[in-house]
Each structure stands twice: as structure tokens, then as C-alpha cells.
């Protein structure tokens, strides 16, 4: 019974892999289908990234790209791959992962498929921070990223404090987010209204979200955020199932409800802030990635990791589409994700109707 080992177990119609040390001190239960889906998504994300590395104004054969990545390419290829294309591709993958993870946390915490950081005011707060730097302080580059992070953190603290009333009810958090973001939204459109046309246009491109023209600074920013916060999200993510059953049940199961929720929410905020600072407020990925991951793994408890991988795959594919949809025109990736968002919401609409027919 208490033997160490790896065994397969079928329960509730799903096959799970159980890894256990002697005496059961450490026991890891892995959802087999989630494992396979995660691996598949990783493969998709990596292959799309490779395609993105090899295509562009100056097409490179895949073999050359791979050799350059392994440090055996010629200087010309190295320059194109390492300086021009790799930062963009890495940012796409990392930002997608951060958005997917952040989206899962918020949707599971609020128990609502629409409770993503796009709609609860976090990305709007980041946008306000960035706009203040861009339009009022005439800053650029890394300063904008700092402004976005500060804006995002300040907004989330404000929302959390407003929602706090004998503990934070998740849904009140969402509503406070909506109120605060309506206010910030109108402030943002005022900032754009009162600035010169050129500045307003470039600010607006930032607001749509783009991975174009980003460098290694941004890669380090979002990569560092993920390296620190993703483990925290994975560790505390196991409470999400219990929290989803309601506070009372979770307390009975020994989950530290208020603290667990605060840690998870903070992690989600941090991930969203890092992603937004690097690439601007890219819509929809945080909304759809968790839902798609749930559907693919056929489990209502799809963890943080499949959603993060789904986000990477989605954003990489979107970036490929953004580069190739209109010949000779490199669109901001946010345009593609917004279009996908429209499709997704329409689907949700019909889905909900069919269910309640």
C-alpha cells in the first residue's frame, strides 16, 4: 500500500498517473490526458516559433535557423536570427504563457469564464500607466514598461482594497475592477484626445498590443516574471479546485482560503503586469487560453500549465497570422487576437444559448 512507485489509476473516467514516494510523503497525481495535451501544445508552440524564425523579409531555410540556434551558423544568419527574430519569438511565447496562466487563475478564482484580467481592470491600469509615460512624460522604451507595471500594480491594489469587506468576495473583485476600469478607460481616451495626432497614433499602437520591435530587455522582463511567478502559481494552483467549491467547503478541506486567494490573485496580477509591460495589453489570450485548454484536456480542472502552454501556442500562431495575413504589412498581433476574441465570444454566445435552449 505504501510502496513507492509509479502507477496508473482510472478514476472518474480519466486515467491518472500517480507518482508516490515511500510512506506517501510526496505524492503527485498527474492527469494523463492533460500531460499529453500539454506536450502537444508545447510542440505546436515550438514549431510555430521555428516557422516564425525562418520566415520574414529575408526567408531562411529551417536547417540554417537550427544551426544558428545551436551556435554554428554564419554571421549573417546569426544576426537575423539572434538580434532581429529571436527576441520577438521568445516574447511571443513567454507573454502567451504568462497571459494563459494569469487568465486561468482569475477565471478559476472568480468562477466565471469571462473573469479574465482584460476585463477586471488590470490591463486598463497598465495602459493608463504606459499612456502617462508616453504622452505626459514623453518617455519611451523601458520607461513605458515601468509605467505599465506600476499602473497595473496600483490599479490592482486599489481594486483589492475597494473589494475588501470582511474578506474579498471574488465576484465583488470583478465588479470593482469594472468600475475602476471604466474610470481609467475614459481617462485614457481623454489622454489620447488631447495629444497630437502622431503621438496619439503611436500610443494607440501600443494599446493594441504588439510584439514588433521588442528587444532583449523585454524578453528578460517577461522571462524573469515567469521564472519567479509560474512556480508559485503551480504550487498554489492546487487550491483552485477546492476554492472553486465555495469558501465553506474549501475551509473544511483545510485550505487557507483568504491567504491562498490573496497569493493566487497577486501571482495573477504579477503575470499580467509582466506580459503587458513587455507587449502591451494584448486582448483575448488570457480569456480564451484557459477555456480551450479545459476543452482539450476534457477536464474541468485543467491546471495552470496546460493553459500557459495553450497561451504560448495561441499567441505564436496569432503572431504568424499577423505577419502574413496582409502581404507587406506587419500588423500588431493584438489585431489578430481581437478578431479571434470576437469569434470566441460569438461561440460562447451560441454555446450558452444551446445549453439553456
Amino acid at each position: 500500500m505504501n510502496a513507492a512507485g509509479v502507477r496508473l489509476r482510472r478514476s472518474g473516467g480519466a486515467t491518472r498517473l500517480v507518482i508516490r514516494t515511500r510512506a506517501g510523503r510526496l505524492s503527485l497525481r498527474v492527469h494523463l490526458r492533460a500531460l499529453l495535451v500539454g506536450a502537444g501544445l508545447l510542440v505546436v508552440a515550438l514549431s510555430v516559433s521555428l516557422v516564425n524564425l525562418s520566415t520574414g523579409d529575408f526567408p531562411l531555410p529551417l536547417r540554417e535557423v537550427l544551426r544558428s540556434l545551436l551556435g554554428q551558423g554564419d554571421p549573417g544568419t546569426d544576426f537575423i536570427v539572434h538580434e532581429l527574430r529571436l527576441p520577438r519569438v521568445l516574447i511571443t511565447v513567454l507573454v502567451g504563457a504568462a497571459l494563459g496562466a494569469s487568465g486561468t487563475i482569475f477565471q478559476r478564482l472568480t468562477r466565471n469564464p469571462l473573469g479574465s484580467p482584460d476585463f477586471v481592470g488590470l490591463t486598463v491600469g497598465a495602459a493608463t500607466g504606459a499612456l502617462v509615460v508616453l504622452l505626459l512624460l514623453d518617455g519611451g522604451g523601458p520607461q513605458v514598461a515601468v509605467g505599465a507595471v506600476l499602473g497595473c500594480l496600483a490599479t490592482s491594489v486599489a481594486i483589492y482594497l475597494l473589494a475588501f469587506r470582511r474578506g474579498v468576495q471574488p465576484f465583488r473583485l470583478v465588479l470593482m475592477g469594472i468600475g475602476v476600469s471604466a474610470l481609467l478607460e475614459s481617462f485614457n481616451s481623454y489622454l489620447i484626445y488631447r495629444s497630437r495626432l502622431d503621438e496619439a497614433l503611436s500610443a494607440q499602437v501600443w494599446l493594441i498590443g504588439s510584439v514588433n520591435g521588442r528587444g532583449w530587455t523585454e524578453v528578460a522582463l517577461v522571462g524573469g516574471t515567469l521564472a519567479v511567478l509560474l512556480p508559485v502559481a503551480l504550487y498554489h494552483g492546487r487550491h483552485l479546485d477546492m476554492l472553486g467549491m465555495g469558501d465553506e467547503t474549501a475551509v473544511l478541506q483545510g485550505v487557507p482560503v483568504e491567504r491562498g486567494r490573496a497569493v493566487l490573485a497577486l501571482t495573477g496580477v504579477g503575470l499580467a503586469a509582466g506580459a503587458t509591460a513587455a507587449a502591451g495589453p494584448i486582448a483575448f489570450v488570457a480569456l480564451a487560453a484557459p477555456q480551450l485548454a479545459t476543452r482539450l484536456t476534457r477536464s474541468p480542472h485543467a491546471g495552470v500549465l496546460p493553459a500557459a502552454l495553450m497561451g504560448s501556442a495561441l499567441l505564436s500562431a496569432s503572431d504568424w497570422a499577423a505577419q502574413h495575413a496582409l502581404p507587406g504589412d506587419d500588423m500588431p498581433v493584438g489585431v489578430v487576437t481581437a478578431a479571434l476574441g470576437g469569434v470566441y465570444l460569438t461561440w460562447l454566445l451560441f454555446h450558452e444559448r444551446r445549453h439553456n435552449g
Binding site: T110, R111, N112, L114, G115, D118, F119, L162, R165, Q169, P170, F171, R172, V174, L175, M176, I178, G179, V180, S181, A182, L183, E185, S186, F187, S189, Y190, I192, Y193, L197, A200, L201, Q204, V205, L207, I208, A283, F284, L287, M331, P332, G334, V335, T337, A338, A339, G341, G342, L345, L348, L349, E352, R353, N356
Partner: protein, 357 residues
């Protein structure tokens, strides 16, 4: 036995006695009339201020004189060509949004419903943007139709997305509206970034303002507004029936489906026309019915009458505040209403007990 419907969730007793409700029906009627007259006086004062106050300060006596005798002086030009049309537009838009908010709250049985929050105003904007950018529509006549089509489509979508579901709570509806708004907004800006001139026109309109609107636009939207106002005022009795729930309404001889369709047409006409004329304005549709309900109780005939005077009074007052606050520059009225309305929304949400997610 006068009751206010505070929620349509059906998960807790939805009836609650209005604060300070007098038991005697006669004194209640007196109170309602007093309130209505006070509202009318407020509207007159706001109108007077809107004509008299501005970046170019004119004496009250001068204003009074040139108001009746257009003597061709500079003062007369300011009053007749700038401030009178602006005030007229403010009255029309304020009445439209106040009534639209009221009808929306009645239809959805949702005290948080508001054309801005539920995305109907942005739907109208989207229609206009598509018309400007892709169909080359440049006249006010064209705008109105596209605005109304956009408003109609989004209101139908929001009702379907948030109104069905297992438990169509007010909060879920707001979330559905906000998500739709986010996707539409992202799409709108994505289109605009590639259309420089349309972008310039749109950013001045998107902020929500009564200044610099073409006289032709006002003339163009008037028939739609008048139809909408008449429809809304005629719906009062049916909305009262609907507020008791579909079953009770049917047993009283009302036809809920027909009332909903009529109400949606009303909202679409009012929001589409108002948004086409002034740009999206937030929170007016939330604040007006709320203030009216505090005095009148739950009778929609009275709430609608109040909305007709309070809407314009609030919008004109906000516009005057915007002119005075940062003189000689101006804050667009949309920014002022957002900064006044968002705290109200937050306070309302904090007070509500959130039982269902």
C-alpha cells in the same frame, strides 16, 4: 405596500421596502410631484448655466439680452451659434440616455444595467467606425443608421450572452457587456490605426463630448430620439408588469415577449441616436434611474418621467463642470460623467450582497 425590486436573481428575497417610504398613498403622490418639480427646476437652472457659463465669460445681463435679440455682436454669435446648440444637444442626449438606462434596468431587472456598461454605446461606435473606415460614409445621415444598427446588434448580443445562463444575475450581465465592449473596442482601434484620418475624427468623438458637434447631426438624430422618447414613456405600465416577473406579468394580461422587443427597440433608438450625436457617454443611464428610484419607489411611470428631466439636468451640469474645472481648456463631458458615475457604481456594488457568482 410599496416595494422596490432590487434584484432579479431569485436567490434571496428580492423585495425590500424603499427607504423612508411614507405609508400614506396621498403623501407619497405629493412627494413624487414635489420631486418632479424640483427636478424640473434643476433642469432649468442647468440650462441657464449651460448658456451663461463658458470659456468666454459674458455677463448674465448680456446673455439675457442677446438671447432674445440676435444683434450680430460677438456675444450674440457665441450664444446662438455655440452655446444654444450645445445646450439643446445636451438636453436631447441626456434625456435619451436617462430613459434608455431606465428601460434597460426594467427589462433586465438589473439595477446595474446601463447602456455604457452593457456595451450598447460602444456597439453604436463600432457601427460608425466601420462606416467611416470601410464604406466611406462621411455624412451624418449615414452615421445614424450605422450607429443604430450597431446598438441594436450589441444589445441583442448582450441580452443573449448575459441574460440566459444558469442564473442570469445582474453581475453576469454586466460582465458579458464589458467583455463584448473590450473585444469590440480592440477591433475598433485595430481598424483605426491603419486609417489615419478616421482615427483623428474618431478620437475626438470617442471621448464623449457635446462641443463642436455639427448642427446637421442634431437635426438628423431628432426623429429617432423623439420616437424613442415617446416609446419609452408609453412603456411605463408594461414595465411595471414585467418587474413582477414573467409569470405574474402574463397573468395580469401583459405579454412579456412583446414588451421585451418594444423595449429593445426603444433602447436601440435612444442609444444609437444619442451616441451618434455625442459619442459614447458612460454612467448617465446608471445614475439617473437610481436617483429617481430613491424618490419615487418602483413605479416605472414615475421613474421614466423623472429620467426625462433628471437626465438632461445631470448631463448639462456635468458639461458645465467640465467647462469650469480646467478653464480656459475643457474636460469633455464623457470624462466628467465617468469620474462622477464610477464611484456611484462602486458604491452600489459594495452595498449589494453578492450571493451568486
Amino acid at each position: 405596500m410599496e416595494h422596490v425590486l432590487t434584484t432579479g436573481t431569485g436567490t434571496r428575497p428580492a423585495l425590500q421596502t424603499a427607504p423612508g417610504e411614507p405609508r400614506n398613498p396621498r403623501s407619497r403622490t405629493a412627494r413624487r410631484w414635489t420631486g418632479l418639480i424640483a427636478g424640473a427646476v434643476a433642469l432649468v437652472v442647468a440650462t441657464a448655466l449651460s448658456i451663461a457659463v463658458g470659456s468666454r465669460s459674458l455677463g448674465l445681463a448680456t446673455v439675457w439680452q442677446v438671447l432674445w435679440h440676435d444683434d450680430g455682436s460677438a456675444a450674440a454669435a457665441v450664444v446662438h451659434q455655440l452655446r444654444l446648440p450645445r445646450t439643446a444637444l445636451g438636453i436631447a442626449v441626456g434625456a435619451a440616455l436617462g430613459l434608455a438606462g431606465t428601460v434597460m434596468q426594467a427589462l433586465t431587472r438589473n439595477p446595474l444595467a446601463e447602456p455604457g456598461l452593457l456595451g450598447v454605446n460602444l456597439g453604436a461606435s463600432t457601427g460608425v467606425v466601420l462606416a467611416i473606415a470601410f464604406l466611406g460614409v462621411g455624412t451624418a445621415t449615414g452615421y445614424v443608421w450605422f450607429a443604430i444598427a450597431g446598438a441594436g446588434l450589441t444589445s441583442a448580443a448582450v441580452f443573449a450572452l448575459g441574460g440566459s445562463g444558469r442564473a442570469p444575475t445582474p453581475e453576469r450581465q454586466v460582465l458579458a457587456g464589458v467583455s463584448l465592449t473590450a473585444v469590440l473596442g480592440a477591433g475598433v482601434w485595430a481598424v483605426l490605426v491603419t486609417h489615419r484620418e478616421a482615427f483623428d475624427r474618431y478620437r475626438h468623438w470617442d471621448v464623449g463630448s457635446l462641443a463642436d458637434r455639427e448642427a446637421a447631426t442634431i437635426v438628423q438624430v431628432t426623429p429617432f430620439l423623439v420616437t424613442g422618447v415617446v416609446l419609452a414613456l408609453a412603456l411605463g405600465r408594461q414595465l411595471n408588469a414585467l418587474s413582477m416577473g414573467d409569470d405574474s406579468a402574463t397573468s395580469l394580461g401583459a405579454r412579456p415577449a412583446r414588451i421585451r422587443v418594444l423595449g429593445m427597440i426603444t433602447i436601440t433608438l435612444l442609444c444609437g441616436a444619442a451616441t451618434a450625436a455625442s459619442g459614447p457617454i458612460w454612467f448617465l443611464g446608471l445614475a439617473v434611474p437610481y436617483a429617481a428610484r430613491m424618490v419615487t419607489g418602483s413605479d416605472y411611470r414615475w421613474i421614466l418621467a423623472y429620467a426625462l428631466v433628471l437626465g438632461p439636468a445631470l448631463l448639462l451640469a456635468s458639461d458645465v463642470i467640465g467647462r469650469v474645472l480646467v478653464a480656459p481648456a475643457e474636460l469633455p463631458v464623457g470624462v466628467v460623467t465617468a469620474f462622477l458615475g464610477a464611484p456611484l457604481f462602486i458604491a452600489l456594488c459594495r452595498r449589494r450582497r453578492l450571493s451568486v457568482l
